[in-house]
Amino acid sequence: MRPFTFTRVKDVATAVQEVTGQQNAKFIAGGTNLLDLMKIDVMTPQHLVDITHIALKTIEENKEGGLRLGALATNAATAYHALVETRYPLLSHAILAGATGQLRNMATDGGNLLQRTRCYYFYDTDTPCNKREPGSGCSAIKGYNRDLAILGTSEHCIATHPSDMAVALAALDAKVNVTGKDGDRVIPILEFHRLPGDKPHIDTNLKEDEIITSIDLPAKGFADHYTYIKLRDRASYAFALVSVAIGLEMEGNTVKEARIALGGVAHKPWRLPQAEALLQGKEATKANFTKVAEAYLEGAKGYGDNDFKIELARRAMVRALEQALSMEAAS
């Protein structure tokens, strides 16, 4: 590992100060992603700012009648929090579909949003990768791309964002609260992650000097009709090939509101409010579900090994909508 300096801070202001104007400084929270990447020389910060001693671990009700998740609350603490379990079971399920118990005990909610792609080539410094080394080329587009994106890709990068939690947050319309040298701002979750375009080395719209302080969940939790389906190559401890987060608000058999977010298919959690609207005021039927699924996948593009994801995503969405409707546990 490259040598680096390390400092531990106790408040947000100092944290921001420590990274402002610093070449290549990084916050470290649970370290479950950053340290892995440092060991293999993919991320090479020269200065680490340990933020785990900042008082940002609490989970409490916010002003809008929703919940505020401290950026340093662990994934485990969040998933098992009584208010999250009862009011936002979709979020609990999504978090628990990820990683392992040990990892979730270390991983923080802020860090989870900022975890980096799992593209094979990104992890191998001997291969070209625009995300790791801008301008070096993308090995995946013509290489092995079974796990990679089918939506929102660019000719420079087809990586996916691997988080499960973020997919649920996207469905819930969460907001990310951040603080930087220029003060506080709120980033809606759908604007937090970005598409690769011609700058795939930039994953999110968070600025270099900004720290995530918390995540706000709006009041609406879809606790009556929700599901998180994660399809992967083994039953646990694998990233999603395709995942679907659903929240439905029903009136009889009519859909009042539908939230659908996809994971494992794009550089960010994929949500299309205009496609969701196709279900609004409609009967909850398989035919209608299929229509929405098709709308979601319009323009989807496979790269060979990952072609199957288009059909898989379509079927997974239909299944997930049915599951959220009936609230029958998946077998």
Binding site: R2, R118, Y121, Y123, D124, L231, F308
Partner: protein
């Protein structure tokens, strides 16, 4: 012989040491002034190193040296000096030999520094300029160039038996299909590591992760021209190996090179990513053409094998022996060709050749059973092989029919609806499949020594390994039983090159080979003990032969009157305060070659396949095993369970993917190379059927390391077909293939 210990489900004698961390592995032995080496691997698959600039690395404080092909000392570099006990024919890879790159991730430099992290960092500063060459890594694209090796490492394909072409042409029912098994990497939990302790004067003690310490020792003496007396290799515990430790790996060579050059102790540990830079299970494609009569009797089998090897060694494994072992068929034609690629040479991996060969054959036979409209089990019974037709010999024992019977009964096979897609549960299609398998029960020559001290403590030793299989425990049980001592009084030593000679720990032959040597040396101890007991005044066992007494509970007792006993401690007192010391060489017993020794298995599987989403869940597995005498049912069951879990991985998850643009295995870590996790493993049942074998070896045990895996993947693939009606002929069966 009365047995007290053999057949008991004893806990592992080394269990406590393992769970408390007292058991030390190769990378955990410390030495004063230890330096750390980190390996730098090639970025390209083929070509030459034009230049390698180590100055930036060397400029760092604490970096001791960077070894490359440019500055490595001039050793003898003949092929012979680098061959080991498990080398295939060819020219073995020699680390840092020259500037030529023969495969992607080839080790090209060793950075040695005061700490591991410093060495790893310094390795990133080494600047390498390559002159890349065209490479061949695409198996399918190179199949047409497949060749017959001059010499097979494995059993060469036999000349045709009977009249296969005619029989096939005339057969009433035929199938012809191709099956593919991907490359796989061993991925034991413990990464390969060597700690070389510099003892001064050109002497070294090496702690190595290896399945045979004497193989490493020999390799080092040959490669470095060292005196055998100056190299001791020790490996008391191995954190899994599955064959990856059969050949000395490059970290051993590099660590020793550095230690000898720096005259300092050096440790080299590979990273998980680097575990994908050497031997692996070869990708294997097989074409099967099978003919049967309408009533289900096999008429002809043709098997054509194409298997991956490197460009520098002709690796081959026993893929083509199975038709002769598992089915009665008079007309058989076999071929076995190699596809040479710019990769590292493949390496034996748990049930080499069986895992691939039995998978393809058992799927093909399942297809045939469907085509015949026969129950797959009935079809196998109908074509039951009473003889090993490869060798034209009877089996030393074969309770496979009992495996079928007990396995089927436990599973409930008789309730199976033969129709594919006939069983459904919600979104899931339910499928039941079966397959059978075999694994040779070889016995090799082995040596053992025993020391029984006057306090009644027995120490037995042989230079074998315990790669997690339970060798320590089984050997302790055999020794304790033979001499009639409690387990606590017996210590078994292994994993030290100074111990008596043992074969590599592989091929499922350790219990039969080393176990037989342990038994033989303990028999000599018995002899000596009886002799001593008879020297006692008024000895209760005077004038009797060894077969007239029993050794148990620390006593020698007369068979005709068990109240007449001499305690072993009393007998030992006759030895003038001396210990009894014996040593033997045990060879396969005479007459054994008249028979063909195999362990057998039958596996029954239930899967649930989500019809829309393609996910497969293996809900039940029953494996019935005929493995001769079971020395320890507990460790034996663990062996079989491990094989079954691996079978799930092989069927559904495992594959090392070659990127043919780069000539590089690209999913080289455990995030992207999937093995089963707990959530993939459901109901598992192991049955050991009773099997007496008087021919196989003196202890009647067959070895269980590999029989547990061979029939599992095909049974799963067959169950997936039964569930879905889809025949996936390319492993692993991932969900995309079922959409």
């Amino acid at each position: 012989m009365k047995t007290e210990q053999i057949g008991k489900p004893s806990n592992r004698v080394d269990g406590r040491a393992k769970v408390t961390g007292e058991a030390k592995y190769a990378a955990e032995f410390n030495a004063p002034n230890l330096a750390y080496g980190f390996v730098l691997n090639s970025a390209i698959a083929r070509g030459t190193i034009k230049s390698i600039d180590t100055s930036k690395a060397l400029a760092l404080d604490g970096v001791l040296e960077v070894f490359t092909h440019e500055n490595r000392p001039g050793y003898v570099w003949g092929d012979k000096n680098y061959q080991d006990e498990d080398s295939p024919p060819g020219s073995p890879f020699r680390p840092l030999y020259k500037s030529e790159i023969q495969f992607s991730m080839q080790p090209i430099a060793l950075v040695v520094a005061e700490t591991f992290e410093l060495a790893r960092y310094a390795a990133t500063l080494v600047e390498v300029v390559y002159e890349p060459d065209e490479f061949e890594s695409d198996f399918n694209a190179n199949m047409e160039k497949a060749y017959k090796p001059k010499k097979y490492k494995s059993t060469p394909p036999q000349d045709p038996r009977g009249k296969p072409e005619e029989a096939l042409a005339e057969a009433a029912v035929k199938i012809e299909q191709t099956y593919a098994h991907p490359s796989e990497h061993h991925n034991p939990m413990e990464m390969h590591a060597s700690t070389v302790v510099w003892e001064g004067d050109g002497r070294i003690t090496v702690y190595d992760k290896i399945q045979g310490v004497q193989n490493s020792q020999k390799y080092l003496t040959n490669a470095f021209g060292l005196d055998e007396a100056h190299v001791r290799v020790i490996s008391p515990f191995v954190g899994g190996a599955f064959g990856s430790g059969l050949r000395p790996q490059y970290q051993l060579f590099l660590a020793v090179l550095a230690a000898l050059q720096l005259k300092r102790s050096v440790r080299v540990v590979l990273t998980r990513q680097q575990m994908f830079s050497f031997g692996h299970r070869p990708k294997t494609v097989q074409r099967f053409a099978i003919g049967a009569s309408e009533d289900g009797k096999l008429q002809a089998i043709q098997q054509d094998v194409f298997a991956e090897t490197s460009k520098f060694e002709d690796y081959s494994e026993d893929v083509v022996i199975w038709p002769g072992v598992l089915y009665k068929c008079d007309n058989v034609k076999l071929s076995h060709k190699l596809v040479g690629l710019d990769v590292y040479t493949p390496l034996d991996m748990r049930a080499p050749g069986g895992t691939t060969g039995i998978y393809a054959m058992e799927c093909a036979m399942d297809e045939m059973a469907y085509k015949l409209g026969m129950d797959p089990l009935e079809f196998r019974l109908k074509n039951y092989a009473e003889k090993d037709q490869n060798k034209d010999k009877l089996f030393s024992s074969k309770e496979l029919k009992e495996c079928y019977r007990q396995g089927a009964e436990k599973f409930g096979w008789s309730k199976r609806n033969p129709e594919p897609r006939s069983m459904k549960e919600g979104h899931n299609l339910v499928g039941w499949g079966m397959a059978h398998g075999a694994w040779e029960a070889k016995q090799q020559e082995a040596e053992a020594k025993a020391t029984l001290t006057p306090d009644g403590k027995l120490t037995v030793g042989s230079a074998t390994a315990d790669i997690g299989t339970g060798t320590y425990t089984a050997m302790t049980q055999i020794a304790a039983d033979t001499v009639g001592l409690p387990l606590e009084n017996v210590t078994f030593q292994l994993g030290d090159s100074s111990l008596p000679k043992s074969p590599l720990e592989g091929g499922s032959w350790t219990v039969s080979s080393v176990g037989s040597a342990v038994k033989a040396v303990c028999d000599k101890v018995r002899e000596k003990l009886l002799d001593l007991a008879q020297q006692l005044e008024n000895s209760p066992v005077a004038n009797v032969g060894l077969d007239e007494v029993t050794f148990a509970d620390g006593k020698i007792s007369l068979n005709t009157d068990p109240s007449k006993t001499v305690s072993i401690l009393d007998a030992l007192k006759q030895n003038g305060g001396q210990a009894i010391e014996e040593k033997v060489t045990s060879k396969p017993v005479e007459g054994q070659e008249k028979f063909s020794p195999y362990a057998h298995s039958a596996t029954f599987v239930e899967v649930k396949v989500d019809e829309d989403l393609g996910t497969v869940k293996v809900t039940r597995v029953v494996s019935a095993i005929a493995g001769g005498r079971i020395i320890n049912p507990k460790t034996a069951r663990s062996q079989i369970l491990g094989g079954m879990v691996w079978g799930i991985g092989a069927a559904l998850e495992e594959e090392t993917v070659m990127d043919n643009n780069l000539g590089r295995f690209i999913n080289h870590d455990l995030d992207k190379y999937h093995v089963p996790v707990n959530a993939d493993v459901h109901d598992m049942e192991v049955i050991f059927v009773e099997e007496k074998d008087e021919h196989v070896n003196p202890i009647g045990a067959k070895g269980l390391g590999e029989i547990g895996i061979v029939s599992v993947a095909p049974a799963i693939a067959n169950a997936v077909f039964h569930a879905t009606g889809k025949r996936i002929r390319e492993l692993p069966i991932t969900l995309d293939k079922l959409l």
